[in-house]
Subunit: 273 residues, 2 copies
Amino acid sequence: MMAEGRRIRLDLAYDGTDFSGWQRQPGQRTVQHVVETALSRIEGRDRVRARGAGRTDAGVHALGQVADARICTRLDDRALRSALGALFPGDLRPLAVTTAGDGFDACRDAVAKTYRYRLDRTPHGDPFVRRFALWHPHAMDRAALDDALARLPGRRDWAGFAGAASTARTTVRRLTEARYEEEPGAEAGVFTFTGDGFLNHMVRNLVGTLLDVARGRFGPERIDDVLTSRDRTRAGPTAPARGLWLVEVRYPWERGEPRTDGRPEDLRPGDAR
Amino acid sequence: MMAEGRRIRLDLAYDGTDFSGWQRQPGQRTVQHVVETALSRIEGRDRVRARGAGRTDAGVHALGQVADARICTRLDDRALRSALGALFPGDLRPLAVTTAGDGFDACRDAVAKTYRYRLDRTPHGDPFVRRFALWHPHAMDRAALDDALARLPGRRDWAGFAGAASTARTTVRRLTEARYEEEPGAEAGVFTFTGDGFLNHMVRNLVGTLLDVARGRFGPERIDDVLTSRDRTRAGPTAPARGLWLVEVRYPWERGEPRTDGRPEDLRPGDAR
């Protein structure tokens, strides 16, 4: 029998709370494991391999993770999405299944990713976003924060903001967007970061440092200091995983503006709009 | 020692997923138990009793539950709210603490309550609202649904929509509002019900019946049939608890329009607005 098959692109959303991140690890409930197991069940093969665009950490959420896999099933894309929807648990959903070019590699082909980091700014702590945001009721110096954010975009060596587990060959990445916005009424705040790639823990270390700047622990020039010194100990703490969302992965053949469609901002059960 | 004390009103929000409802039950994690335990810890007394306006079932959420309690602590309202915030778990938050008149009874004094029931209308099932909404991707006949909803408001005997566990002396209640709305883009739908009181399971049985009407299993006149016959077996199934929210309790001294501020509609991480 000829195993012809095809390569598919999978667009996935997940609540990362109860996953040990994307990457398969022995004995752990990971997104990759659940995706591969479902594909294997459909095909009746031992192991189907799925590659993810972003290796989200334990507890990190995704609105637009992209993966690819080579499959042999003759189910068309639509039927395959339905089958995956039935096999996946409620905290992992298949947004789309698309037949891709045979050479498609969700990770290597990605040219940009957008992450968001969400703050719960309510004084009491909103019980409905506690899985999805960091509760941060403290006063924030917006001028200092904006000053710090303005120092980030560019092609830089991010070693000072990389986690110890980072195994990347190079720590140079291009960041094209770094901003912070609050909703009217200021019950939620959202950081947005877009770049051609991110090191392990980079967004969470950036957020931890930016929050320290906003609280007055460091001046905005601390950003330059960490970048220049490449010294992780000069940066702020790693912000918790639960506020972090992978919202979009972009590929070179996709035109137009990135679809940063704002889902994390609107997550909380907020005021009527 | 004179136990003078004061009566307080507590406004509470909770994610009901991991609570066995409001009411204290031996060996169960209930909202009443957690509230009373926290108040007892603050006072160093054996038992402080808290009365809730609505006895929400297991899995039902609250954006605006109201409770009252008689306390002796000399912490002012603001400090007491902070203390409760520190003692409560993340899925239960104290929105406000207010000193009330000594005769205040959160349950007996309530003149109206508003419940919402939320549907997830996405084709794939949104992983971020699965604790807070019923996934209902099926086509809905809006004309039939609106016809059925229009038959509900009024002072009626709701015995046919009451759960078996209902212990109310009378099954007559006045319903003043019954409507269904979908967001633009129709990724979420919300039922709203306001009335002077609700029987056990009443909202969930109404929703189960209304969804059956919307799917064409019954005609809208089935509503009149259940009301007239008082026969629970003529109604639809009990909709799951997770979609139900107690959004507001109103008291006679509160003026103006009810604060149905739309939080459940905006729960999902939706499109940018």
